[in-house]
Structure formats: structure tokens, C-alpha cells
């Protein structure tokens, strides 16, 4: 019985410890995908299939390409007034989350052929 109580106490301590750890880590983890995509929706649509032809369809695009585009907007290697403002405060982890989200959405994009 005593052994079980000690185990239980240990387990509770471990659980609260991990809960505490995740609370502490929360700011490190940054924004959720929902928070991150909120800014993208107005131009690219809720799932990245942009309704406006001036803005690219990003749904289903290769993840690494989306990441590269966002990184280049952030560094200034790719110059676009609208996108520069959007990505300025994104972390590497935010960029990865956005690319992962949009690359998995249903999409009309495909690889074209020459014949």
C-alpha cells in the first residue's frame, strides 16, 4: 500500500512536472497553425486555393518549396511588399508549420508534361 502511494505520488509529480514543462515551453513553441494561417486566408483562401488569380495557389504545393519561398521573403532575397510584411515575424518553426499545413491541403496543382 505504501509502495503504491509512493508510486502514485511519483506519477502525479511527474505529470504535474510535465504539465509545468509544457506550460513553460509554450512560448517557445510559438503560434498554432490556426493563428499562423489567419493572415494568409484573405489572399490565399482558407486552404490555400486562392480565389484571386494574382495570388498563387499554395495548397498541395511541395512543402520544401513553400518553406524556401517564405524564407526568401523573410530574408529579402525574394522581394514582394505584401509578403515581406507577412513573414517578417515568422520563426523557422512557424514557416515549417505553414508549409506542412498548406502542402497537405487538397489542391488542383499537378506536375505538367511537355506532351
Amino acid at each position: 500500500m505504501m509502495k503504491q502511494l509512493v508510486l502514485l505520488a511519483g506519477l502525479l509529480a511527474a505529470m504535474s512536472g510535465s504539465a509545468f514543462a509544457s506550460e513553460q515551453a509554450a512560448p517557445e513553441q510559438g503560434k498554432t497553425v490556426e493563428e499562423l494561417t489567419a493572415a494568409c486566408t484573405a489572399c490565399h483562401g482558407p486552404t490555400g486555393v486562392s480565389p484571386t488569380t494574382a495570388f498563387p495557389i499554395i495548397a498541395g504545393q511541395h512543402k520544401t518549396y513553400i518553406e524556401k519561398a517564405l524564407q526568401d521573403y523573410r530574408s529579402g532575397a525574394r522581394k514582394n511588399a505584401v509578403m515581406a510584411g507577412q513573414v517578417a515575424n515568422l520563426s523557422d518553426s512557424d514557416i515549417e508549420k505553414l508549409a506542412a499545413f498548406y502542402s497537405k491541403q487538397e489542391s488542383p496543382l499537378y506536375t505538367p508534361s511537355g506532351d
Binding site: S50, T53, A54, F55, P56, I57, G60, Q61, H62, K63, T64, Y65, E67, K68, D72, A77, R78, K79, N80, S107, P108, L109, Y110, T111, P112, S113, G114, D115
Partner: protein, 113 residues
Amino acid sequence: MKSISRWTQKVFAAAMFCGILQGSALAAGDAEAGKVKASTCIGCHGIENYSNVYPSYRVPMLGGQHPEYVVQALKAYKSGERAHPTMKAQAAQMSEQDMADIAAYLTSAPQAQ
């Protein structure tokens, strides 16, 4: 004199109208003409999951994309707003008509096998 000037006005108006029509035809792009012009593009964009080697990332899928956006991208490479060396070299050779034709083809081409 008055009737001649009216006639001149009509001719001028007709010429303007043709100009507008031609302008919109230019912007629309000709996919058939684009097919020939896009042969170089297909070398990378027509290979499923093809990767840019350095830095390593996959080249974008252009089938099904908005042609207007593809034209914008080509113009940005030509102007230097986008810096990819290969794409800059490709776009530097293109007229606006070439860009429109290529965009029309790549965004509507048959799917690669």
C-alpha cells in the same frame, strides 16, 4: 471638312478598339505557342518531385496554377525581384508574349506520367 473629321474620328475609334482587342489577346496567352516555348521549362517543372540541388528544395508544381501568377513570377525573375539564377536567365530571354504563352501552356498542360 466636318464630315472628314467625323470619318477620321471613326477610324481612330476603330483603331483604338482593335488595339484593345489585341492587348487582351496578348495578356491571355496562347497555350499552343507556349507548348513549343515551354520545352526548357519542362526539363525541371515536368519531372515529378524534381529538386533544385543547392539549396535543396522541390521545384514548384505549375499545372493547375493561375497563369496570371506564373506571368508575375516570370516578370519578377526578369526584373530581379526574384533571384534564382536559372530562372533569371530563362526569364531574361522572354518577351511578355512569351511569358503569357508559357504560363498558358504550363498551367493547363496534360499531367506528367
